[in-house]
Symmetry: C2
Subunit: 342 residues, 2 copies
């Protein structure tokens, strides 16, 4: 993995630093990625001691005395707590000591920190959070999933360009089909924002396939799905909630009789298979696209596997020259007529 | 069922008039509801002939020479085709011959027809489509799920009042908890629209529980979920798409080995149970809240069970005095400060 070092905020996850330390060890051991664990040194040493032999892995510790909690505001994260593990990890990227920053901490705080400390790629109006998820076919990336709740058509056009590049370089999709999330396939269907964005998206040098509906999201009809951060966030969280409900109801139905229970036991490797296919932790966190360097944001509930994969994605991202491609790609939409924000 | 007659557009569903005729027969037979089938008389008689003994049921035929297709625009539906089954069925309600109108036709056309022909309840700015769906606890109603793609905060406040009454009267929820769909529980989380709506919703004489997140939708945290029609439509369609993907992946996983297949056979009554719990057809279509009389819109893919249940809901709705309650309830938010649409 060409020597990229990833700075990992080791104090971010709900159960930090356990998943971070274990995830770092797996990334270093399985993938040979250099990981800089950022956080309270004594805490990290204690956790690392549970993994004998870690000293031979490419893992370093970088001390930071503070950390951001889930309750801290994003403003607080960037203005005070200047020695937080989050901020220090981001700074390591700015200073070129690390090539990517990964955190499972407070999402708002991570975004604000990365934007301020690492800065924004030239031409990017607003960085966007990209969520990757499984479909019947290939993995799909949706953006924005929560960084920008009120978007302009121009911002959606930028998201399309950034998502297309991410899909090509990181998800290895050859000619990504970019769809605009709307409520009908026909061009005129949608709200004011999507109808205005449609006009812009059609002018871009990407494989734009028009509107796609919510029901197409998991059918693999598009490789990149563009939407504002409010709707993207709702769409992903609704999915989480529904998957949880289905799991729960299936369990209840199988526990209702002995025969069903036996059936469940016989078929449970099927369930395990299924779970693996829809397991969010395989997807390794959400990239904050459009910031300088690399920033990957993980779910607060991340397990070690999710952290490992986020480190992998950060390393791939850092060697992919994506930001330069984005800078170049965004020039192609910078001369378009800019509709007024609604 | 107190003699309410329901006018059923018998030419609307994808496989019309089959599900409509069978659904009407079930509603008449099981529930004693009077159904007026509206459509081409000869077509309907031919379909009815497949159900011997139908003449003894409270089913009538009302001839209409035309019908609206899925390709017709809403404008066309209301301006031309004046003898369409959709329009004639709606007119029967306006004329007091029927008390409710049910259609599985082109949703945009049904909404436009009902608004124009039946009219709007005094005080209602814009009728809203209410989608009912299952959760781990009680069924929930979400509105708007597609009638209004660009909403003002005031419209959301009206949806809250209409949804609350629907939940109480039709879903028999005692003190419905009304939530605003947003991207975080805290009051300040959301976009411009939801933040402005929050201010209004807090002043209403309803059990408003604040913001709820997409992940709470299926957890039964609220009985009524308020959102604009764009986001509501996306949320429901994303759910449809995800449920479909999960079904597909489970099937694949169970077919991968003989043991798993045997397990599946033993446990399939569990799956049947589960399917019944999440079956949309149990929920009987989406009411268009805020139109005079009653209008229930079904999915184009509706089966006979869905039509039967939509007829049931229409009959309950028509005897529940809901519109009068809405008119009264909406007065409570008519004196509020009206924020500008964003």
């Amino acid at each position: 993995m060409s020597g990229a070092a990833i700075a990992l905020d080791a104090m971010g996850a709900d159960h930090a630093p356990k998943p971070e330390v274990e995830g770092a060890i797996r990334a270093a051991k399985d993938l040979g990625i250099r990981v800089i664990l950022v956080g309270r040194e004594e805490v990290l040493r204690r956790e690392l001691a549970l993994h004998p032999g870690w000293e031979s892995l490419p893992i370093e510790i970088h001390h930071a005395s503070e950390f951001i909690t889930m309750e801290d505001s994003a403003a607080k994260a960037v203005r005070s707590k200047r020695d937080s593990s989050m901020r220090v990890a981001s700074r390591l990227v700015r200073e070129g000591i690390a090539q990517g920053f990964v955190s499972a901490g407070n999402t708002g705080a991570v975004m604000a920190t990365a934007k301020m400390v690492q800065g924004v790629v030239p031409g990017v109006e607003r960085p966007a959070l990209g969520g990757a998820f499984p479909t019947l076919k290939n993995p799909v990336v949706m953006l924005d999933v929560g960084a920008n709740v009120d978007c302009t058509p121009r911002m959606l056009a930028q998201f399309a360009v950034m998502g297309e590049i991410y899909s090509r370089v990181i998800l290895h999709c050859e000619n990504p089909r970019v769809g605009l999330l709307s409520i009908g396939e026909e061009e005129h269907k949608g709200n004011e924002l999507t109808r205005a964005a449609m006009v812009l998206l059609k002018t871009l040098p990407i494989n734009f396939i028009g509107n796609i509906e919510g029901s197409d999201m998991y059918a693999g009809k598009a490789d990149v799905i563009v939407c504002d951060g409010f709707i993207g966030n709702v769409a992903l969280k609704v999915s989480e909630g529904l998957a949880e409900m289905i799991r729960h109801m299936l369990r209840e139905s199988f526990e209702a009789s002995v025969t069903r229970k036996i059936g469940y036991i016989l078929s449970r490797s099927g369930f395990a298979d299924f779970r693996k296919r829809v397991d969010y932790s395989e997807y390794g966190g959400a990239p904050l696209l459009g910031v300088q360097g690399v920033c990957i944001i993980c779910h607060g509930r991340s397990n070690a596997n999710a952290i490992r994969n986020a480190i992998r994605v950060a390393a791939e991202f850092s060697t992919g020259n994506i930001n330069l491609q984005m800078e170049h790609g965004l020039r192609s939409c910078s001369n378009e007529k800019v509709p007024q924000p609604i």
